[in-house]
Amino acid sequence: MAINVTRIKKSHKELTTLGQSIALLSHGIKNILEGLQGGAYVVEEGFKDGDTELARKGWNVVNKNITDITDVVQNVLYSSKNRPLKYERVAPGQLARDAVGLFQEKAAAMNIRLSQQSNSAVPEVDLDAASIRRVLHNLIWNALEACHRDQEAKPHWVNVQTDFYDADHFMFAVADNGIGMDPATQRNIFEEFFSTKGSGGTGLGLAVVDKVVNKHGGKIEVISAPGEGSTFKIIFKLG
């Protein structure tokens, strides 16, 4: 009797990939844990000495890492769960304004100018608002990071634009003048668990973007060059 090993080989490969993915994910989580423990330590030391300034600094570290872990969990959920889209009528410009608003404080702290323009003629459309918010969140965060990691001493900016793409489509375009990507990096960015951010990345952000946009029947365009920055356009049908 012959045994067909193709399936066994395939599941073996899937398991290996899964193992590597979990290793990378836990790498990201360990870094966040380190931040939580370290921050808590500093808070404690501040209290011990009655040094509220030190305690506050420690507390900021704790808070930042709580935000980070929330983000990781959200992205894990969006990348793993096959949840059906919940369409609702939304104004794209409003989604972009909300997303940008959430990052204004962070951008200011990173010394990056974060702006947005939306063409008010773009009509309301049916989208799964929660997952599009997640997409915009990931794209804006990546753009800020790309600026932050750029060593070049120039004023950095991130811009989010909502506009028509052509007669039948509209787009969100998230542009930055940060570090940019070479062609090799661009080929891998939508792969799950691919990251260039070292301890800062889990490799889920753009994989989630890709997944959500595909489910909406939309498409993504990327324009990028090292040292010049990147633009991500996500394009959806009007109506």
């Binding site: 290793a23 790498h27 370290g38 930042k64 990691r149």
Partner: protein, 158 residues
């Protein structure tokens, strides 16, 4: 009074630099920090620390492993005690296998994130001691090692 030990921390995570610097300062160390490997190497050249705390997996191309190799290949700095830190122990094993001269260039000790702070405190004098022993080995052995380092200097970690 005994002179306090000087530590350089190299890590791409600003939270880690801040909290670890606070911890070590409060335990009597003098601390300087760098957020990438290149700055780290400059800092180590300038400060001649008693030990280096090094994130081996930083995002920049000049990674912790590369920095480690540079230190070990530098005549003046090759005995600097290095404690490698990583959030990914398994990945370290992979690197280990693929790097022929890993044993020569490797850090003196490894710690996993989140770092066990008490273990770190006991590890620092240990690695300093270990580095001293390394330094006091017979001359021929050192020469041999330098020769190997020379031979291997064209090899780059993955």
């Amino acid at each position: 009074m005994e002179k306090s030990l000087r530590i350089v921390i190299v890590d791409d995570n600003p939270d880690f630099l801040f909290t670890m610097e606070t911890f070590l300062q409060r335990n009597g160390f003098e601390v300087s920090t760098a957020n990438d490997g290149k700055k780290g190497l400059e800092l180590i050249r300038r400060e001649r620390p008693d030990a280096v705390l090094l994130d081996v997996m930083m995002e920049t191309l000049f990674s912790g492993f590369e920095l480690c190799k540079q230190l070990r290949s530098d005549h003046d700095l090759q005995h600097t005690p290095i404690i490698g830190i990583s959030g990914m122990g398994d990945e370290l094993n992979i690197q280990h296998d693929q790097w022929p001269d890993y044993d020569y260039f490797r850090p003196d000790a490894f710690l996993e994130k989140p770092v066990d702070k008490q273990k770190l405190l006991s590890l620092i004098p240990e690695v300093i001691q270990k580095a001293k022993q390394r330094q006091s080995r017979p001359k021929w052995e050192k020469e041999k090692e330098e020769e190997w380092a020379q031979k291997a200097s064209h090899l780059r970690p993955k």
